[in-house]
């Protein structure tokens, strides 16, 4: 267990180092941060002053050492847009994104298990075909468009739900559904195909030959095995949502989370803030990966954390 954790943390370290390198190369070597961050009207003197102030006029090697040093002190620099430490803004917005992901992914997980299982029981039956079709739709509708359609229908036409922003429970409904849609589609298809596979396995024949009642064969025997790939995919959904897939939903619904902040940072050319978001999320993903590995172990006794 200890060795496993160590290896996982080592891998996480590699991820963080990789992200550091990419961010550094992209921001300091490929692009010109001074040009990006200052308005076009800035004079050469202003540019030079700004470069000097944030240390961009030093040799690239020194810049890298400073960059890494700042990161280890969790100093991501000051947001140009809000004139306060970038990390503060990130930590302020992060919980909103986590709440949105919790609502959306929770919805997808809760719906996909029963739907996929029912569909799998009679492949080719009408529930199955409906599920496959809904799954295909969920995979095919662009998320931003689906969100806008929901707004047009439920907020503009019917006036039932708020169009955007964050507040009480009603504010969660449309963004959560929008975020859930593609995840639900993927998860439901996985549960369906995995359940079909599992129901054809020899151990299910054993269970049937034992005279076990149908619900037990399906829910205990087959479902328990389906959970193994299901947890893997659900973990992937969680990570990819964090990795930026909430950006679209947050933009459509003006949800004040990290994704929307990232888009605002881009519009305001606030490179330091964007950088802080990327690093925070990278570290968060590393931590979640370790957590997921422990969950895998609980679900699948064959995995050994050695």
């Amino acid at each position: 267990m200890g060795g496993f954790l160590l290896r996982r943390i080592g891998q996480g370290l590699l991820v963080v180092i990789g992200v550091t390198l990419i961010v550094f190369i992209a921001t300091r070597m490929v692009g010109d941060p001074v040009k990006v961050m200052l308005p076009l009207s800035a004079t050469d003197a202003q540019r030079a002053a700004f470069a000097h102030q944030v240390g961009l006029d030093r040799p690239i090697g020194t810049q890298f050492v400073d960059f890494v040093g700042d990161l280890t002190r969790l100093d991501f620099g000051e947001s140009l847009w809000q004139r306060r430490p970038a990390l503060d803004i990130v930590l302020e917005r992060l919980p909103n994104t986590l709440k949105l992901i919790g609502a959306g992914l929770g919805l997808a997980i809760l719906l996909s298990l029963p739907l996929g299982a029912i569909a799998a029981l009679k492949p080719g039956g009408w529930v199955d075909r409906t599920t496959v079709f809904v799954g295909l739709f969920g995979l095919s509708l662009p998320q931003f468009w689906f969100g806008l359609l929901l707004i047009v229908f439920f907020s503009v036409t019917l006036g039932w739900l708020p169009t955007s922003g964050m507040g009480g429970a009603v504010y969660y409904i449309l963004p959560a559904i929008t975020l859930a849609l593609p995840s639900l589609a993927r998860l439901v298809m996985l549960v369906r195909s995995s359940m079909i596979d599992e129901l054809n396995q020899q151990y299910v024949r054993t269970a049937r030959a034992k005279g076990l009642r149908f619900p037990r064969v399906v829910l205990v025997h087959a479902m328990r095995n389906t959970l193994v790939p299901f947890v893997t995919l659900a973990g992937w959904e969680l990570i990819s949502a964090l990795a930026g897939y909430t950006v679209v939903v947050e933009t459509v619904f003006a949800w004040p989370g990290l994704g929307l902040t990232a888009m605002q940072a881009i519009q305001k050319s606030d490179l330091f803030l964007l950088q802080a978001i990327v690093f925070t999320v990278a570290v968060l993903i590393v931590v979640i990966n370790v957590g997921l590995d422990i969950v895998y172990k609980l679900i699948d006794p064959r995995i050994r954390l050695a």
Partner: protein, 343 residues
């Protein structure tokens, strides 16, 4: 057809003119083409035949495991006189299967649920059929594991299948099958996937259980040696039909059907010195379009005009039947006639 059971009581299981079909892209495969057999209390029946002959399909039909694209087309399966088929039969069968008739499968590596504990998998049968509580079931499961020769059973209950060897898993499967003290155990090639030394142990265990529990056993195998050691009666299957049946000793001493004769010639024997094994040339017929007449005629050295008409099982001795127009004629007497020699 009527095979006399060992005891005078009514048979436990009767299968009558059972037909099973598989609807595939290549056409309708006739898996079973009218199989009739029965087994009485305390009896051991060996079902032999090569792969695809329908022996496993027969067992699956009894256990309700024929799935799409397969289906039972006609015939009947009766347990103590009551049918397993139809809606009411299905309901009846569900209470019988796992309790009065249980099955052990060929591959112990895939037959156990990989993510559930052994204790759960044995215990659930007891909870289902005998209404035990979880705790009672686990205690009984411990006894069962001990009974099939697994040491430290209490500790083993908490383990998962991947922590067991192949032979041990088959023992677990057997413990699960005998959990409710069934009257009939169907063992579908129970030793095929195991090492030779383990095979003998498992067969010994089955023989012991048969003695101690008074079990009837249907042993499905392609290994004639296994049948000889364990079975009272034997049924030989070919191309979805039973082509010969009788007392095991008789069938081995005086095989009547040319296929049985050929099968025996291709089996190594310890009690006879022979320097080569002889296989039967050709392959079993395609069951999409089975040949008119005797299904063995293409491979049979005796085949003639009469074989264009399908032979039915008929008595050749009071307790033996064969489906052949020229039963008990030595078909492979002349070594020059049997074309293939394998060292």
């Amino acid at each position: 057809m009527n095979i006399p059971a060992m005891s005078s009581q009514e048979p436990l299981l009767e299968i009558e003119k059972l037909k099973v079909e598989f609807d595939t892209r290549r056409g309708l495969v006739q898996g079973l083409r009218g199989v009739t057999l029965s087994i009485g209390r305390g009896e051991t029946l060996g079902v032999v035949g090569e792969s695809g002959s329908g022996k496993s399909v027969t067992a699956q039909a009894v256990m309700g495991l024929i799935d799409m694209p397969g289906r039972i087309a006609s015939g009947d399966i009766r347990w103590k006189g009551r049918s397993f088929l139809g809606n009411e039969g299905e309901r009846y069968a569900r209470d019988i299967r796992g309790k009065e008739v249980a099955m052990v499968f060929q591959d112990p590596m895939t037959s156990l649920n990989p993510v559930l504990k052994i204790g759960t998998q044995i215990g659930e049968v007891l909870e289902r059929h005998l209404g035990m509580t979880r705790k009672q079931a686990l205690n009984r499961a411990e006894e069962l594991l001990a009974a099939v020769g697994i040491s430290a059973p209490r500790r083993r209950l908490d383990q998962h299948p991947h922590e067991f060897s192949g032979g041990m898993r088959q023992r677990v499967m057997i413990a699960m099958a005998i959990a409710c003290e069934p009257q009939l155990l169907i063992a579908d090639e129970p030793t095929t996937a195991l090492d030779v030394t383990i095979q003998a142990q498992i067969l010994e265990l089955l023989a012991e259980l048969q003695q101690s529990l008074g079990l009837s056993i249907i042993l499905i195998t392609h290994d004639l040696g296994v049948v000889a050691g364990l079975c009272h009666r034997v049924a030989v299957m070919y191309a979805g039909q039973i082509i010969e049946t009788g007392q095991a000793e008789d069938v081995f001493e005086r095989p009547a059907h040319p296929y049985t004769q050929g099968l025996l010639r291709s089996t190594p024997r310890l009690d006879e010195v022979s320097d080569r094994l002889i296989s039967i040339e050709g392959t079993p017929p395609n069951l999409v379009t089975p040949p008119e007449g005797c299904s063995f005629q293409q491979r049979c050295p005796l085949s003639g005009e009469a074989c264009k008409k399908a032979p039915q099982l008929a008595h050749i001795r009071p307790d033996a039947e064969a489906a052949c127009w020229q039963p008990s004629v030595p078909a492979w007497a002349n070594p020059l006639m049997s074309p293939t020699f394998t060292g």
